[in-house]
């Protein structure tokens, strides 16, 4: 019997975890003291504290119920526009991330071989010294560019990036190219807006292309969509899989993977050639509207039927219904749009559909270009200018990928450059909140790239796979134990504040980056005393005290004045359905059809996609979510399975050109016969995550690396696999 707490028993934690948590509870009760002074907690240390969730990037507001110094329940904060009193299953289970028996609670230094999992405990001073001295050694010997940095969307990312820019490396790998490059690049080029927001108040017709909103939950938006459906709005949903969103849709269209853009181009063709568009809006605000009918005329519904497998009459009808809803129609931009090499064109077609329905920025329109920049209107610590960086970026932006926005990058290309050593060899990797081993395609390659590194350091709250293969692991405080920079949402700056003491010696990212910065001789870039001082500096322009914000959970921000004039942040100041920028870079200036790769007869499209109970590869070790998730299995169409002599619960071997995994089969009617599906993020290699280890199989072990030359997005659904009985 190991010393882990079994899943069955974990909720007895109140008593059972006394040993594991004693360390945290012996620390001086600074948080409790502050919370008592702020009026959140009574003398018995019981009460409610507002903060923000971090179980995904939607960042719902939460109210933590604290009893005797322990968080015992999380509820959605009714005052936060992202939660409105609700939390999804991940948000509800958040306290189990904090009380995970596998938490890393002291800095660790590797003593065995990489991947053996042998570490010794170290003091913060020693661990930070080791990290800093290795980074400096690499900088001295090979230049700052030989250090690679990796992170993911999070509130302290601004200080992570501060560290990276101050250090002087251009090499930054994030989840972005594995997720939304296609959507952001397409909308930036078309509207000058990264991700337009959606309004469901008056929506009558919603077109969703693989946006599985009922399983990839964004609490408030999922709620808005549900209410819109309830009200009678029509939802047309394209997905090769009968997801839970498909089951709520008015119409589910099991389209052939990779052909969404053909369907959408034919819709545009129907609308423009029949003059069903909102002409007034289009003529005024859209570049290319005069030539659009001519350009789209070749994309007939008959043409699209051959490619998509969807009857021409269905496409025609849907196009006409969409047009009839005028500015109350919404073609949803999607989110993780890294599906095929042509996903950028899919997104361009979606952007165009919205433009010609006139729903953008018009009163009652469903797509809004108002996007609050993170941190706008807040103060920042002073800092000197960053050093000039002259080295080429290893991810090929912009010298190989001219149109990929600098901040998005091409993570998979960066990994490949580490392997080839071209245009130069990198030697160190500093990683926070990323897990490249499970996030990047072609896991074998990523492990090989790790082998090329002289030094790897990882910041995380548990021993994720990347930490397992690292030389130093720095334990971060969980989101219920730390401060992060403020986040403005709809005119309020919300706070994430500790609701309990950090356990063990875990520290906030703000503290870790500052400590490391100082050791790297970059102290001038981190001019804040501590986390509270950082937030006080942010609050300065608002004239609000930290104490007020801690009590209320947010600070009011002054409303931004609008002059009512509509302009778009593009070269022409209009919506660029026709893009000169694309043309100049040698790509089609119009949304266009690009033939994707197709599987051979005995092969399947390998699909992945979220379930409501997990976020990427980061939550599988949460014991509550583990309990309430379905066992990850390979979905295969029931009739296809029968033909192959396979049945539910059979073990199968799934083989792609880059790897093979074993997994249990689920024969189901809910998927196209030419596709298989697996839940992503499982198949952990780290034995330090004892709940998740040995569960499911890794999609990253199977994914082949394909990069879209325009957006730099990884084509995650373009991997084809064979399946046989294991």
């Amino acid at each position: 019997m190991t010393n882990t707490i079994s899943r069955r028993d974990f909720l007895k934690l109140g008593a059972a975890s006394a040993g594991a948590l004693a360390l945290g509870q012996m620390l001086p009760p600074r948080v409790a003291q502050a919370a008592r002074e702020a009026g959140h907690l009574n003398a018995e240390r019981d009460g409610y504290i507002p903060s923000m969730c971090e179980m995904c990037v939607w960042r719902c507001g939460l109210i933590a119920k604290v009893k005797d110094g322990r968080v015992v329940k999380l509820d959605g904060n009714p005052e936060h526009p992202h939660s409105r009193g609700n939390l999804c299953p991940r948000g509800q289970s958040g306290l189990m991330n904090t009380y995970d028996p596998d938490r890393v609670l002291t800095p660790l230094v590797r003593v065995g071989k990489r991947g053996e999992g042998l570490f010794r405990q170290a003091s913060w001073d020693e661990a930070l010294d080791i990290v800093a001295s290795n980074m400096l050694k690499i900088k001295e010997k090979y230049g700052a560019e030989a250090m690679v940095f990796s992170s993911t969307h999070n509130l302290s990312q601004v200080q992570f990036e501060n560290l990276l820019y101050a250090f002087g490396s251009p090499n930054y790998g994030t989840q972005r190219s594995l997720c939304f490059n296609a959507m952001i690049t397409a909308f930036s080029l078309t509207y000058g807006v990264e991700e337009p927001s959606r309004k469901y108040d008056d929506v009558e017709f919603i077109l969703m292309v693989g946006r599985n909103m009922m399983e990839a939950i964004s609490t408030s938006e999922t709620s808005e969509l549900s209410h819109a459906i309830d009200r009678g709005a029509k939802l047309v949903y394209l997905d090769p899989r009968y997801t839970k969103t498909a089951s709520k849709a008015s119409e589910w269209i099991p389209i052939r993977p990779g052909t969404d853009s053909a369907f959408l181009l034919a819709m545009i063709s129907v609308i423009t050639t029949n003059e069903l568009a909102d002409c007034e809006f289009v003529k005024k605000y859209v570049v290319g509207c005069d030539d659009l009918p001519r350009e789209m005329s070749r994309y007939t519904t008959e043409w699209a039927e051959k490619i998509t497998g969807i009857p021409a009459a269905t496409i025609e009808r849907i196009a006409r219904e969409y047009a009839a809803a005028k500015h109350n129609a919404l073609a949803h931009p999607g989110w993780r749009t890294s599906n095929f090499i042509n996903s950028f064109q899919t997104e361009r077609a979606i952007a165009t559909l919205n433009a010609i329905s006139g729903n953008v920025l018009t009163p009652g329109g469903c797509l809004s270009a108002e996007v609050a920049a993170e941190g706008a209107g807040l103060g920042m610590p002073k800092q000197p200018p960053y050093p000039r960086v002259s080295a080429l970026r290893l991810d090929g932006v912009p010298w190989k990928y001219p149109l990929v926005p600098l901040k998005l990058g091409v993570f998979q290309e960066l990994r490949d450059a580490i392997l080839t050593g071209e245009p130069y060899q990198s030697h160190g990797w500093f990683i926070s909140r990323q897990n490249p081993i499970l996030s990047l395609p072609d896991r074998a390659k990523t492990l090989e790239a790790f082998g090329k590194m002289d030094f790897i350091a990882t910041v995380d709250i548990i021993m994720n796979d990347t930490a397992w293969f690292s030389d130093v692991v720095l334990p971060e405080a969980s989101y219920l134990e730390r401060y992060d920079p403020l986040l403005p949402v709809n005119g309020k700056a919300f706070i994430r504040q500790p609701v309990i003491e950090p356990q063990g010696e875990a520290k906030s990212a703000l503290w870790i980056y500052k400590q490391l910065g100082e050791r790297l001789g970059l102290g001038d870039f981190f001019q804040y005393e501590d986390e509270e001082d950082y937030i006080r500096q942010q609050l300065k322009p608002l004239g609000v005290s930290l104490e007020d914000v801690k009590l209320k959970g947010y600070a009011e921000m002054p409303a931004e004045e609008s002059d009512g004039e509509i302009t778009f942040n593009t070269t022409s100041g209009k919506i660029e359905v026709y893009s000169e920028t694309l043309k100049n870079a040698g790509f089609s200036p119009w949304p266009t059809w690009e033939e994707p790769l197709m599987p051979k007869e005995d092969e399947f499209y390998l699909l992945t996609g979220k379930v409501a109970q997990q976020t990427q590869f980061g939550t599988q070790n949460n014991q509550l979510l583990h309990k309430y998730s379905d066992e990850p299995r390979l979905w295969m169409n029931a009739q296809t399975a029968a033909k192959l002599g396979l049945a539910t619960d059979d073990w199968v071997e799934v083989t792609s050109p880059v790897g093979a995994v074993h997994i249990i089969l689920l024969a189901t009617e809910a998927i196209r016969p030419d596709c298989v599906y697996m839940t992503p993020g499982y198949g952990h290699l780290s034995k330090g995550v004892k709940t998740a280890y040995g569960v499911g199989a890794s999609d990253s072990a199977l994914h082949v690396t394909y990069t879209d030359p325009i957006s730099g997005g990884q084509a995650l659904s373009q991997t084809f696999v064979t399946v046989r009985k294991a």
Partner: protein, 257 residues
């Protein structure tokens, strides 16, 4: 929220997305072990054949019956039906006989071996979150539901809302509010787009089962007394007869001697 005279839930199966936030919320709020959840979501699976498919989801927990069968079956009075709705269970009185489990037509009370032996609390089921509802909060499962598939309020009010919803979208719903009348009414009301039997709900008469059983049970004591009298009489009669026989036999034996 209007004043709640009779606490009740309304579950709308057309809204449920099977995300299981309610299950997690219940486990954490009530500090119960995950294997012994008081609320469970049955993803009833997909019916039909590709591509004509349908999916139903049902959130089960205690129906908080107006005439609880668990209560009438309990020999020690461990169950109480509160005047304002909740059916509650008192572990201090429970003897672990499991009659309630057999009696409940919805299979709700859950037997907990571990707790039963250690703490003497044999049965676990939804309590209606009294720690929340009497403090002005919604039950944990309701509060967190992102699609309002679970709602909470006054029973009469929710029944009204349910009928209004059916009237507004007759094409979407089965024209019936399950729990309004079933088994004499429940405080967990259900709207559905698929037949209720497909959600795994029993087809129950409007007259509560225990109205019949309780009438019978009410007769127990008089019947027992009466039957006792009959048996006593019979025993006495037999004894008398036996004695007579014995006496006669003795007499015979004596004459033989």
């Amino acid at each position: 929220m209007t004043e709640i005279k009779h606490h009740a839930y309304l579950f709308d199966a057309t809204r449920c997305i099977d995300c299981r936030a309610c299950m997690v919320a219940c486990s954490v709020e009530n500090n119960i072990e995950m294997d012994k959840t008081r609320i469970w979501v049955a993803g009833l699976g997909i019916t039909g054949q590709y591509p004509d498919l349908q999916r139903g989801t049902m959130v089960y927990h205690c129906m908080h019956c107006e005439h609880p069968d668990c209560m009438s079956a309990c020999p020690v009075g461990a169950y109480t039906k509160a005047e304002d709705g909740p059916v509650t269970y008192n572990p201090d009185l429970c003897i672990g006989c499991r009659y309630c489990m057999n009696a409940c037509p919805f299979g709700v009370p859950h037997f907990d071996y571990d707790k039963g032996i250690i703490e003497g609390a044999f049965i676990d089921k939804c309590t209606f979150c009294p720690q929340r509802i009497y403090e002005g909060q919604e039950p944990a499962c309701v509060q967190t539901c992102p699609t309002d598939a679970l709602e909470y309020g006054d029973r009469d009010e929710l029944i009204k809302i349910a009928h209004e919803r059916i009237a507004a979208h007759p094409d979407r719903y089965i024209d019936h509010v399950y729990g309004e009348k079933e088994n004499g009414g429940t405080s967990y009301l259900i709207l559905s787009h698929v037949p209720f039997s497909e959600l795994g709900l029993p087809d129950l008469p409007e007259t509560p089962v225990n109205e019949v059983s309780e009438k019978v049970m009410e007769m127990t004591i008089p019947f027992a007394l009466g039957w006792g009298a009959v048996l006593t009489a019979v025993t006495a009669g037999v004894a008398l007869h036996d004695n007579k026989k014995k006496a006669a036999a003795n007499k015979k034996a004596e004459t033989k001697k």
